[in-house]
């Protein structure tokens, strides 16, 4: 990992150089360093397996430049990046790529400008997690798996289930899968309009587990997020096994005969139909991530892909539902001090009591809707300029995940 100071120095020198170039009218320089450690779990009690299957990592660092060039055809915008080179040479290569690929994007307004909102989140990461060592990582992975396996070994319910199936517990087809993932990120950014170099560092760990007792077609899951290395425990492992075992069925205490298994109730199979359904946090987060949030971005409204077209300020769901995005809360795994456009993160209330109140956005998308899209009012259901004046559609979600440094929402 490169330190944020190293990245900041690169960005500072890059901007200084770019300001000397006559044809560059605007530019934004972004440098980042990323490391992802992943240990995949694969324990099976009835098939040969490795327990901790894959201790692995991937890492990269580099510089990305978004620039506006004055050309004989008009102002062109381009993006270029260069891996593993934070020197002035690397800056020149990235800029040359941006210049070569620049296009006349008639919907481009400007690179980000200062906004009134102030950054609230600084120094929120755990330095120990940021610098996690291989042995610590592997030991933590085995500790999580220990939790899952010991829960099975010590579970009276699983022992009763094994007796009921007339099998030893390892022949019940116990499975534990999932992973421990630690993500470390450092960024620095500055632009001609926002020349002060801003930096950010974040580190978080996630544990996602699924366990099964295949003999009973029973599955359980657990999911935990950590912001500190010291917090990582075997609890997620214990929980996933508990959940899988609980899904096998219920032993009731009112056992007249006194023998285990006589009052065992297997989960019922439900006929197709309409029922009242209660969603736990995990399926709910799946809904939000895959169905709801993609429909609550300015780009989805521009592209007419949202089911909520024209509904800004209107009721779009039950008044029981309120939804917000909050990258500025240090307790959350998605916490970031700034966006990848250098703007402060914030809490964005997307739905309040069933009413659509805001959208996730980047600078480009907000500007495009407000300044360039003649159909924006119809698409949103409200004038985007009025919404901006009300503090809506703020570009608090311009991030660059998996886009080779290009910005997205």
């Amino acid at each position: 990992m490169k330190t944020k100071e190293t990245l900041a120095h690169c960005v500072y020198e890059a901007l200084k150089y770019i300001k000397t170039l006559a044809d560059v009218k605007e530019a934004e320089v972004f440098a980042s360093s990323n490391l992802q450690n992943v240990a995949r779990f694969n324990f099976t009690s009835h098939i040969l397996s490795n327990g901790v299957e894959e201790p692995k990592s991937k890492e990269d660092f580099g510089i990305g430049i978004q620039a506006v060039f004055a050309t004989s055809e008009g102002l062109k915008t381009g993006f270029g990046s260069e891996s593993n080179n934070l020197t002035l040479d690397g800056v020149k290569i990235a800029l040359a790529k941006a210049r070569e690929g620049a296009v006349l994007d008639a919907e481009f307004v400007s690179l980000p400008r200062p906004i009134a909102a102030q950054r609230t989140l600084f120094n929120y990461h755990d330095p120990e997690l940021m610098n996690i060592q291989d042995e610590q990582f592997i030991d933590a992975s085995w500790k999580i798996l220990d939790g899952a396996v010991h829960e099975c070994l010590n579970s009276p319910a699983l022992a009763k289930l094994a007796a009921r199936a007339k099998k030893s517990i390892h022949r019940l087809g116990l499975i534990v899968g999932g992973d421990l993932t630690v993500v470390n990120e450092a960024v620095a950014i500055a632009s001609t309009a926002l020349p002060e170099v801003k930096t950010d560092e974040s580190a978080f760990a996630t544990v996602s587990l699924t366990a099964m007792v295949e003999e009973f077609n029973a599955k359980g899951s657990s999911s935990v997020c950590y912001r500190s290395l010291r917090d990582i425990s075997d609890e997620a492992g214990k929980e996933v096994s508990r959940n899988a075992i609980a899904a096998c069925g219920i032993f009731t205490e009112s056992d007249g005969g006194g023998r285990a298994g006589e009052d065992f109730r297997e989960p019922a199979t439900i006929e197709s139909g309409s029922y009242p359904v209660i969603f736990g946090p995990q399926p709910l987060s799946e809904f939000i991530t895959n169905l709801i949030l993609p429909a609550l971005t300015t780009s989805s409204f521009y592209g007419m892909e949202s089911p909520f077209m024209g509904k800004f300020g209107e009721k779009i769901c039950s008044p029981e539902i309120s939804l917000y995005d909050d990258a500025a809360n240090p307790a959350y795994v998605g916490a970031k001090g700034i966006t990848c456009e250098g703007l402060p993160t914030q809490k964005t209330h997307l739905i309040i009591n069933g009413v659509l109140t805001d959208l996730l956005s980047s600078w480009y998308e907000t500007q495009r809707l407000a300044e360039k899209d003649p159909d924006a009012r119809a698409k949103l259901g409200k004038d985007p300029k009025e919404l901006l004046a009300e503090g809506k559609l703020l570009p608090a979600s311009g991030f660059r995940f998996n886009r080779r440094g290009r910005t997205g929402v």
């Binding site: 327990g51 299957e53 990269d60 593993n84 992973d179 295949e214 592209g303």
Partner: protein, 526 residues
Amino acid sequence: MTNKEITIELGDRLKPETESVLRDFTRNRHGIRIADARINISVGKGASAQNGTPKGSGRDYSLELHTRVIAGERMHAAGYFGISLGPTDVPNFSEIVRSALEKSYERAMHCAKNKFTRKSAWGELGKTLWSTDIASIPVHQNTVPAEFSVWPLDVPLEAVTDTAHEISKELKTLDRRLKQNFIGIATWVERELYVSSEGASIDQTFCYTQGMAYVVAVSDGGVTQEHYDYLGHQRGWEVIENGIRDEFFRFPNLRQFSLDLARDACVLTACPPCPWTEKPVPVVTDPHFNALKVHEIVGHPTELDRILKMETAYAGRSWLFKSPDENLIGKRIGSSLVNAFSDPSLPGYGHYAYDHEGTPARRVWHVKKGILVGFMNSRQTSAIMQDEPNGHWKANGGQVVPLIRMSNTVFEKGTSEPEDIIKDVDHGYYLVGHRTPSIAESRENFRITARKVYEITDGKIGQMYRDGGIMADTYDYFMSVDAVGDDFRLFPIPNCGKGQPMQTKRLGNGGPTMRAYAKLTGGANS
């Protein structure tokens, strides 16, 4: 000397350096079962346009390194390391490879130590912890060149940008119902080097060219149709300009491909939503639809990592294999007309000569005359199952651990004329083009939507519907297959997701026209 850019030719230098480092590394370490390194060099260009406006273009390159070491004292375990590199790393490449191997080795040794401790500490649940092994393969040294007519790197970036822009502009004025369009084009070259401590040295180069069209059409009445599709091949720029027309592929050029998709979307906005059926009805599915079907209900459930439960927390398991004692190997799972295999020797996105651990790739049959016969595998899963490696351990890049992935997974062609398959239906439905899959965890049932659904009455195609599809139990569906066409086609699948971190991978799927029974699923407004 510092390289200014990453080039495909750089592989000529990196290969012998890596071989040398691996030889030294394994000589000086104990307990190693295998050490290997993969180097991926990619150079290419791409452009996009939206609603007649260019959105971006660029030329870029990448260099990625991945190492694996399986090692240990009393038990073996694996350790992996991946890194993205740049031109400035080339002078120190040997040292970087050595360091990556060292990291992988230390991870493997530490993991093996932990595993050995649990082997006894976990009591009866420690019995299945094994000393990681891999099945033997013939060790090859080989160079496999790319196939192309127009080398992607010879195409001016301006030509790529202009092509995307011109098509997007044409779509913008095509039909007033067409509200959105997006065109993406990429053409690039990848060189994959694989070097192992066993002496393998594989050098494969691939050309890829891909076009993507995305359209949204909205009728005056507010009916929205959102469609996208890809054309692509392991070939050069000719794919975009001329399309593909050979034994296995039938694509027009990207302009025509995009216009056809856009016209379909516009026409569909005026169609009624597809009806639902309570019971299975005769359904004829075209090769494009069957490409996604074979992907979801043959390809994924015959990946051996899924079979062995390694994907339980992610992609899921397979209904074909509950345990070594209880599975469907050698048993009937479909009618005698159902034949399916994976074959890396076929052309297209799923083509390669060696997988990412140097295994010579070969056809593996999954279903023969309705009987389940085999799975795609890797050397490690092959060692567990004690069968022959068939070369399906593939990564989507040079930085990540390979997984068992489809190559070209297809239904075999049959003998019926597609027209006759439709002609024999008194009342049923003809599904054309795939759209969205929704599949059960173990792939035991499925729902897949089609771009277009036509009603068949008295052997003739009639009313067209939008937003339709089929759903069925996989076993019942396979058993009901009663006609298979002779019109076999292959299609590029650019975005098959699997793994953690997610690897989005290109591969091939295909098949002929088929007829079976399934419930028809309808549109949201029906």
